[in-house]
Amino acid sequence: MRKTRALFALAVVGVLGLTACGGPASGTAAGTSSSSSAGDLSGTLTVFAAASLTDVFGDLGDQLMTGNPGLEVQLNFAGSSALATQLTQGAPADVFAAANEEQMAVVTDADLQAADPAVFTRNALEIAVPKGNPGGVTGLADFADPDLTVAVCAADVPCGAAAAAVFADAGVTAQPDTEEEDVKAALTKVQLGEVDAALVYATDVQAAGDDVEGIPFPEAEQEVNDYPICVLEAAPNPEAARAFVDLVRSDAGQRALTDAGFRAP
C-alpha cells in the first residue's frame, strides 16, 4: 500500500529538481579513509537502503554521527524496488544502496546518480529452516518435495528472481506453497514454523537469530547478488553522502558487512 501511495503521489518537484550535471566521478568513492572523524560534516544525510542492510547501515550511520556531531543521518529501509520507485517519483535522498543491479538500473536509467554506482558487497541465497529443522531439509532438491511446506519469494522481487535462477541452474522444479512478497515475509513464516523451508539470503538467516537455521547449498554460488551504492545527483548533502559511501566501503564497513553474513564484493 505504501508503495502505491508513493507511486502516485504527485511529487513532480523532486523529479524536476534532478537536473543533469556530471558530478564527481568514482574517485571519491575509492576506499580512502575519508570517513575518519573529520568532524566537519553537518546537516541531514538521507540514505535509502535495501531492507537487508538495516542492521549494518544503522550501525554505520551511528558511527558517522558520532564522528560528526553536527550531522543527522536518516535511514530509510525498504524493498529495493519500492525505494527505486520512490526515487524516480522525486523522493529527496543523498545515497541509494540497492540489493541488486536491476533496481539500481531503474535509478540510473532515470539518470539520477551523481556518480556511477559501485558494488560494495554481495549476498547469496541460503535455505532457512525453523530451529531443529522439523522438515529434515538437506538441500535445494527438497523444494520439489510436495509433502513439505516451502516458501520462496515471488519472481517479481529480487530474492524471487535469484531463487528462480538458482532452481533453473540446479534443474529443480520447485513446488512452493507460497510466493512471498519480500524476503522478510518468507523469513517470518520460517520463524513461526509455518513452513519447513524458505529460500532467503544468508544475511537474513544471520539476522533472524536462534529461531532459524541456515543451510548453505552449492548452487547458491552461481547466483550471488551484487549490492550497488551511489550518491544521488540531487543530493542535498553531497559531502556527507560521499563520506557515508566511503565509510561503507572502508575496512570497518566491510568488516561490519561480513559479520552480518554478507560477502566481500
Binding site: 500500500m1 508503495k3 502505491t4 507511486l7 502516485f8 524493498g79 524496488s81 519500492a82 520507485t85 511446506t149 516458501a151 515471488a154 517479481d156 522481487v157 512452493p176 506453497d177 507460497t178 510466493e179 512471498e180 512478497e181 515475509a185 517470518t188 513464516k189 513461526l192 514454523g193 509455518e194
Partner: protein, 271 residues
Amino acid sequence: MRARGNGGVPLPLLVPAALAVAFLVLPLAGLVVRAPWSTIGPQLAQQEVGQALRLSLLSATLATGVSLLLGVPLAWVLARSRIRGRSVLRALVTVPLVLPPVVGGVALFLVIGRTGILGRPLYEHLGVTVPFTTAAVVIAETFVAMPFLVISVEGALRAADARFEDAAATLGADRWTTFRRVTLPLVAPGIAAGAVLCWARALGEFGATITFAGNFPGTTQTMPLAVYLALQRDPEAAIVLSLVLLAVSLGTLLLLRDRWLGRGPGQGVAA
C-alpha cells in the same frame, strides 16, 4: 420539495462535501488517466488476472457469508443480551479494525497455523494445515472484515424498536422465532449495508491475507496481492489490475443496490 438551484444544500455543507468528493474521486481519476489503455487488452488476457479476480470474488463472498453467519448473531448478543462484560466484548471484537492486518495474519498463525494453539493438534492428528490454502484466504478476510458487519448490524439493532420484539413475545413467539421472523426482517437494511461494507473490505484485503495465506497464483493470490506484486515489476500492469478490481466491485455494488431499491414501497420502518 425545497430543491433550488443547488439542490437545497446549504453552502457550509456543500463546500466540504464537494471537497470530500474530490478527495475521494481524484485518486481514482488518476488511475484512469494513467492507465495504459493501448495495452490493456493483452494485460487483461493474462491468465493470472482472471484467476486472481475469480479467487478474489469467491473468497470475499465466502468471507461475507461466514461473517453473516457468525456476525449477525454476535451483533444480536452485543445489542440485546444482558450478559456481563458486554462492553469489553464489543471492544474485543473490534480489535481487528485497529490491528495492522499483517499483525492479524501473524496472530492467525499463532492460533490456526501449523504450530498454533488449535492448528498444531489439527496438523498432528488429522494432517490438516490451514495456511497457504484458499480457506486461509477466507479466514484472513473474515477476520479483518467481520467487525465491519458486526458494528453495522449492532447499530441497526440498537436503532430498531425493541418493542416489536415485545409484541412478538406476547404473540407466543420465543426469542429465536422473534429473531427470525421480526428482528431480522426489521434490520435487513442494516444487515445489507453491513454485508456490503464487509464484502468491500474483504475484497481489498491485503496484509492479513498475504501473511496468513501466502501468495500463490490460483490458490491464494487475490487481486490486491497480484496488484502489489505487479507493482514491483510493472506499475502500469498494477494500474490495470487495480482498475479491473475497482470496476468489478463497483459494478457489483451498483447491481445489488438497484435490486434493493427495486423492492418498492412499504419498506418504511416504523419509528
